[in-house]
Symmetry: C2
Subunit: 288 residues, 2 copies
Amino acid sequence: MDTKARIEAALEEAVTQATLAPCPPRLSEAIAYAVFPGGGRVRPGLCLAVARACGDPDPALANAAAVAVELLHCASLIQDDLPCFDDAAMRRGRLSLHKRFGEEIAILVGDALIVMAFRAVAALVTASPAKTAAILSVLAGAAGAPAGIAAGQAWESESSVDLAAYHHAKTAALFEAAAVAGAIAGGAEPAAWRLAGGLLGEAYQVADDLADALGEARRLGKPIHQDGDKRRPSVVAQLGIEGAGQKLDELLDRAMQSVPECPGRPDVEAFLALTAERLCPPTLRVAR
Amino acid sequence: MDTKARIEAALEEAVTQATLAPCPPRLSEAIAYAVFPGGGRVRPGLCLAVARACGDPDPALANAAAVAVELLHCASLIQDDLPCFDDAAMRRGRLSLHKRFGEEIAILVGDALIVMAFRAVAALVTASPAKTAAILSVLAGAAGAPAGIAAGQAWESESSVDLAAYHHAKTAALFEAAAVAGAIAGGAEPAAWRLAGGLLGEAYQVADDLADALGEARRLGKPIHQDGDKRRPSVVAQLGIEGAGQKLDELLDRAMQSVPECPGRPDVEAFLALTAERLCPPTLRVAR
């Protein structure tokens, strides 16, 4: 089974388990809507790429870790779109979850996805206690406080922002967790993989800020930043468009160089190259 | 250390860990605000009462389980109070979390508390894999979908409600989980404790519906139900005040009778009697 199919099958299993009777029907529908169809599945892709590069000795655990990082990501997207955050009506070309199912259900789906993430990995505790313990700890760190996604979003409510902590928590932490969890499932030393994952996550954040700024520029004819309008901390606001573009290149290079020696290193490099390609779409390259 | 002090110390530890640097300052403050000072701490009290009744062979795990059920409960209260749910300005005599810190922070604290709950137990996986695996599974079941707190709240968004599933998921599931987790930490067979916990949880839900209905009656001079106004499924709406009162008595009796034989049975019975006393305040008794 290829990586994409593994991810979808594992997500399908987690969603099925969470939406069995007696699940309220609209909650069931909304949980499935939140997870399928996905976006790039980049985080679980990274997790499985690393596990495979390490020989993939425990595919069930690698799948569970990949599912967990993707579910935590889906939960964060739902919350990002809520009226009190970005108030976004659309996500991936269709109605955002709260627009489709109401705000109550959107908030509850967020909770359910976080629980599903932990359940997916916890189900393998008896089979692999040490590895699952490490993965659960990494997931908790990437999702909650003091330095996970919840903390990352919370920086947006502060009057004075620690920009490095903000970007790390909001985006890089889950990329790091994906790489580290893949390495743990693969039986490898996670430290070097943490670096590679974190750098890719940082690159993602910079690319996101750039796309936001350039998208606005194209629509309005001048570089007014949506992030800026919402007074959201942004690498573009800090470094300018050119500086942010240079930073993106540099981060992707460093991510590539940081991949540890291992049997499947070429596959991870190919994954990173493909991801880098996605992060620098033609519009971004032309603008730079 | 008495039970109350054990609970507070264990919660303090979990909150400290989640609010260390680099946690955004307002999120730190809000997490502490959500957990301290607590209400009756009934769920962690039940968890520790059961663990102690079983000889308390693994107090660290019992504490972690007690912390987890209380954090899941605190998260559910924050969400209940949100504008899209009950829109409650006050909780326990002071501003509700979203009124004090804003809706964004309230939602993020909910996430953080759920993560903290799983982290507290997951930290003991290596020491007690089988027990923690069972407790994590029970917690996931009580918190998420298809039949935990998230599912319970989601029933309120359905046009046709499965009343038994609704009440079980919204309230009884976490009481069951508290009793079962205490039994697992105590090394006991959890099935009988599940029954006792579930019955106490059902009693709690009935007492809550009764208090809501009678509070309205006292204020307005006639029995108009707040639950009814919000078209929320209610035992009082189903059975009337007298019927609900009889059901409460019956559930408390059955909970008491269902306590399994064990060295500390009298202590658990004392805990249940005290809880029953709290559930039937004088106003309720007079009204009945």
